[in-house]
């Protein structure tokens, strides 16, 4: 890659992400609040439903929920917006040759920025619950974010490219995401899963990540086997998405 093209790709991703962020905040002063309020409201609903009504016994349940819902929200928003991203930019894809995968990258990075911006809220709740910060476990947090980024990028590239050809994939994705939410220990704990169903955790990179997010913040612990497995998933899923996208992208302009 030449020097000029490296700079071009950097400019491209920076400007695209900037655009996404500007657009989100342009029309309302509450922009930032909205992106936080959504998972918080959800946390409140689950808190009432599961702790008050179903009497689930989990300590620090609000914190527990937030640590599951914030990462989930990032995953959910990215995959949903990616699935329609090529169709939404059809005009551009049909006329210009700029690298299409950057639309997906920009969308996912935009959601990552919002995930990172939601961290002060997490810190606030850690303080409210007098939760100590565990060292050195906390240093694993950025690594988990990076692993999650590649898992999300891979799935996003996959659904973005396939949805060009199978337009109803986005509906299927919506249903699968709904099921995946309950197949992931977000509202319940790892220990509550019946022994014979525990294997599901190993099939679900998001579950592996969320368990480790909680481990490092709530319990000062790390499930290393989950950590390593999620790394493997990140590499595998990203490659699968990247290769699929690149094999299909030359035909996007014909189909859109």
């Amino acid at each position: 890659m030449t020097k000029k093209s490296t700079r071009y790709y950097r400019d491209l991703i920076v400007e695209l992400v900037k655009k996404e962020i500007k657009v989100r905040y342009k029309n309302n002063i509450l922009g930032y609040a909205w992106s936080i309020l959504n998972p918080l409201a959800q946390a409140m609903v689950f808190f009432v439903a599961f702790q008050f009504i179903l009497k689930v016994k989990i300590e620090n349940y609000v914190l527990f929920l937030i640590l599951g819902l914030f990462p989930w929200q990032w995953f959910l928003n990215s995959v949903i917006s990616s699935s329609v991203s090529m169709i939404a930019n059809a005009n551009l894809i049909k006329k210009t040759v700029f690298p299409r995968e950057y639309i997906v990258y920009a969308g996912v990075l935009n959601d990552m920025v919002h995930f990172v911006l939601s961290l002060p809220v997490l810190v606030l709740f850690l303080l409210v619950y007098h939760q100590p910060i565990y060292f050195p476990h906390i240093f694993l947090f950025p690594v988990l974010v990076l692993i999650q980024l590649f898992v999300i990028l891979g799935i996003s590239l996959l659904v973005a490219s396939i949805n060009v050809f199978f337009r109803d994939l986005e509906r299927l994705v919506a249903i699968l995401l709904n099921m995946l939410f309950y197949a992931t220990p977000i509202v319940y704990a790892l220990g509550m899963i019946p022994e014979r169903l525990k294997f599901i955790i190993y099939l679900n990179p998001l579950a592996l990540l969320i368990i480790n997010y909680r481990d490092i913040f709530l319990y000062g612990d790390v499930h290393w086997e989950y950590f390593l497995l999620s790394c493997a998933y990140a590499v595998g899923i990203f490659l699968l998405g990247y290769i699929t996208f690149n094999r299909l992208k030359s035909r996007f302009a014909e189909v859109l």
């Binding site: 071009y8 400019d11 920076v14 342009k26 930019n89 551009l92 050809f165 199978f166 189909v255």
Partner: protein, 251 residues
């Protein structure tokens, strides 16, 4: 001098003066509606659908050959569905030919459809920067000529307003302005100058005349024969994906 050298030499010299060469180009589209119809439809009709997808092709371009000289203004005309847009898409590089060879020399600037790549909540200025990047310029290159771009678009105080407040003509002006300021060597204009008022159209043609004098290749698609004959050096007519007619308009 060996025979092969003598034979190949004029061809190379000749080719250097061409911006675009279509050499027996064929393009078919598989009938994608089989799959864009949906996953359920595809799965239920799987064997038939796969077979049909392999067999049923729509030939949009059938053995098309033509060349465009550097600095030439070429008009492409033809009825709807004749393959004009496919030809443009192949020049722009977004679609690859199924058979044959398309050679394009130089930086291509496609004029985007009205508002393509624009975001309605961003201002004219922000959209100009974004559009420039999507058309292949670096941020630095854009910032260096942003004043020119905005001046040419003549948006006045609207420059810093979100473009959802713009009229169609204003959006066309901004889009045209960004595209012509990317320093293209080949400009593709696909039937979009119909928007915009008379004075802007005149300005566009003045700009294109300036391009013409600077030796920039321009390829136009339009159904408006009067305009095309006034402006183009040569017009090719395409019908059913084949070259139907070529002529030099009398001026």
């Amino acid at each position: 001098m060996s025979f092969t050298k003598a034979h190949s030499l004029p061809e190379i010299v000749d080719n250097q003066e061409k911006s675009v060469i279509f050499d027996d180009v064929w393009k078919y589209y598989p009938l994608y509606h089989q799959i864009t119809g949906g996953i359920k439809h595809f799965l239920i009709n799987m064997p038939a659908a796969v077979k049909q997808m392999k067999e049923s092709k729509f030939w949009a371009v059938n053995g098309l050959s033509f060349e465009v000289d550097k600095g030439e203004v070429l008009g492409i005309m033809g009825p709807n569905g004749a393959g004009k847009s496919t030809v443009m898409a192949m020049i722009a590089g977004v679609i690859k030919p199924s058979k044959g060879k398309v050679t394009v020399r130089g930086r291509v600037a496609p004029l985007l459809e009205l508002g393509a790549g624009f975001h309605h909540d961003l201002t004219g200025r922000e959209n100009a920067v974004l559009n420039g990047i999507l058309l292949g310029m670096t941020k630095k290159e854009i910032m260096a000529r942003l004043d020119q771009v905005l001046a040419f678009a003549e948006l006045g105080e609207f420059i810093d307003q979100p473009i959802r407040t713009y009229s169609t003509g204003m959006m066309a002006r901004l889009g045209f302005s960004v595209a012509v300021h990317t320093d293209p060597e080949i400009l593709l204009v696909d039937e979009i100058l119909a928007v915009g008022d008379e004075s802007f159209q005149r300005k566009c043609f003045a700009k294109m005349n300036e391009f013409k004098e600077r030796g920039i290749t321009i390829i136009l698609i339009s159904h408006d024969r009067t305009t095309m004959e006034r402006f183009c050096d040569r017009i090719i007519e395409i019908k059913d994906g084949k070259l139907a007619n070529t002529y030099h308009p009398q001026r």
